[in-house]
Subunit: 375 residues, 2 copies
């Protein structure tokens, strides 16, 4: 595999063992693998990537803006609040950063077909990057996957299996499939690498001054793991002097990571009956759950679970204050409000919210919420 | 009005008269007004803007990527092809650049309510920027306006009048309204200024080497006017040595500007029965039609009209080759193909396509096209 000077390989988040870059999980213990970089070779955000430009599949993902939201800062009683708007990626979600790298790795391994289970956005991104690389793709999505995602998978020429039921049924179909494909599924080490890149870029946006806290809507937890690694890497390079506390925000009806943090449990317990309006975060058994809990603790951060009602109100309020956020991003708005209510932030602190999905992609959910209020 | 050092005021595209920055149309002749900049004060793309940061309403619009599409370049037989992906703006369309500036001007004039007629995206952008500036907004949209746009206008807290019929009916309702508001309607001089900024940024993306041709899906023609002004400004500053030929691409069932270019007419004749699947471009009587025809001629460019079938195929092919484009952006893909067929490009030329709207925002149209093909 052709990699950058900075990329040193993969290591297991659970047991610390090194692993070859073509492994999907730790061969020793099955743990989530994360990329390792040589801090001496990282002098800019652009250096913290695994593949050189000519070995990477790209549609110019990333380089998203960090948009100041002063109205929210005033409400929270903090020095500043800003939204890292990942909706401004090629297919409108943070999944682009992750699938760009996972598909790049698969193509380098000689894959002619990639596949992933997904609530929707991941399948769309996988189809887009596979098409760009001229390889086939297949998305395993649950029947509740939004029409928009299904449509765009088809438009990119991707195959799709719409599995009756919810996301775990799509995972079961993916895992039970006897078709030939290379997995780019949640928990993939190069998906985690997308989170590392996001962390470095966010610090670069702030001229290498770390915020005090970052609130991230969390499903599988792989981005949380990447963010923590990225912040630690930036500190190791000396580019920043401190790292932010990292908080996972989840809808309370599907909050295995937040529940584990609350209960002091290392490995999240799968949620029996997840039922949230936030489809992308209805992940009852996260692929990187234990690693995410570890990562949150490592930053001295935490997690927060918020009701759907607050999520939707957060989304609508977010749209009025700053960049468009949908229900997924609204989870960060609701989460940051709940955290402020429990005095998680000091008045002189800078807080960043990650918006993982373009508001326009979830317009139907937001409109329904207004309807329910009689608007 | 608080303006930048580079901004010199407005001038009429028809009669050349100067006008105050708070005029919407030329007081002398009713022509479209465009911004004038002092070339000596423009040393970077960022200088070509009318308002300083602290007098501008912004959600960090612009800074969109120029994505290379080598597969398309091969097909067209040109040296390079790239898509300027304006779908990666805050509300997913190029309208953001235009409404950011038009709303900024309105707010500086003391407006507490802005309004525009719109097929959809303009109303969404107006509502977003008005909300960001904490002023009211109203969109006059036709009943065929997509659900997504209507939903997001509401989510931003904007008022909306859904006018029975098509876009001209929405314009009539807007023009006949006796409500108090400040217009940010198509043809507004600071909408044109958004096109100027796009031109400079596009040249900056290419390290100040002009492409040979730019193909732009065109409705009202205001962005075409801005692009021509921007390219001419960049040449006047010495930042580039040449300017690109500019081509307007329109769906053939609603192609007043392309028809005027074909027929050698200076002022486009309104289309009696426009009927295209490309809603954003179903503009039978463009607000900046004559100015756009002038601008196209000034660059030695032209225009092209393409059938809806080719537009939709262009969109789907575009999604497989590079960034997601919808029906609106598919008009550029179909247009550049038609232009290549008539030998508009030399083999050593660089061609840029503008994608005005995120593909995800028009997923339903693309999916329908696949359905019609039995896919």
């Amino acid at each position: 595999m052709q990699t950058t000077a900075a990329f040193r390989g993969l290591s297991c988040t659970a047991c610390g063992a090194s692993a070859d870059p073509d492994e999907e999980r730790c061969p020793d213990c099955g743990g989530v693998l994360a990329p390792e970089y040589d801090a001496d070779e990282v002098a800019s955000a652009d250096d913290a990537r695994p593949f050189p430009t000519d070995a990477a599949v790209s549609i110019d993902e990333g380089a998203t803006p960090l948009v100041a939201v002063p109205t929210l800062a005033d409400e929270l009683g903090v020095a500043s609040a800003a939204v890292k708007d990942e909706g401004r990626n090629p297919t409108g979600s943070l999944a682009d950063r992750k699938l760009a790298l996972a598909v790049s790795a698969a193509v380098q391994q000689g894959a002619d077909r990639v596949a992933t289970p997904s609530p929707g956005n991941g399948a769309q991104a996988a189809a887009a990057y596979a098409a760009r690389a001229d390889v086939d793709s297949k998305g395993f999505v649950p029947s509740r996957c939004p029409f928009l995602n299904k449509a765009m998978v088809n438009v990119h020429g991707g195959d799709m299996y719409v599995v009756e039921g919810r996301y775990p049924d799509a995972v079961a179909a993916f895992e039970g499939s006897d078709e030939a494909f290379t997995s780019v599924a949640p928990g993939h080490p190069f998906r985690v690498a997308g989170g590392v890149a996001l962390a470095l870029e966010l610090l670069d946006d702030r001229a290498w001054t770390a915020p005090d806290a970052v609130v991230h809507p969390t499903g599988h937890g792989e981005t949380v793991v990447g963010l923590e690694r990225g912040f630690a890497l930036a500190a190791a390079t000396g580019l920043v002097e401190s790292v932010p506390r990292l908080y996972a925000a989840q809808p309370d009806a599907s909050a295995p990571i937040a529940d584990a943090v609350r209960d002091g449990v290392a490995d999240p317990t799968p949620v029996d009956h997840p039922d949230t309006i936030v489809g992308p975060l209805e992940i009852p058994d996260p692929a990187a759950g234990a690693a995410a809990v570890d990562a949150l603790h490592a930053t001295d951060g935490g997690a927060v679970a918020v009701p759907d009602e607050d999520v939707l109100q957060g989304a609508v309020d977010g749209c009025e204050m700053g960049p468009e956020v949908g229900a997924t991003g609204g989870t960060a708005v609701a989460g940051v409000r709940a955290l402020a209510n429990r005095d998680a932030f000091a008045p002189d602190e800078d807080v960043v919210l990650v918006n993982p999905v373009a508001g326009s992609k979830e317009a139907d959910l937001l409109r329904s919420h207004l309807m329910s209020q009689g608007l």
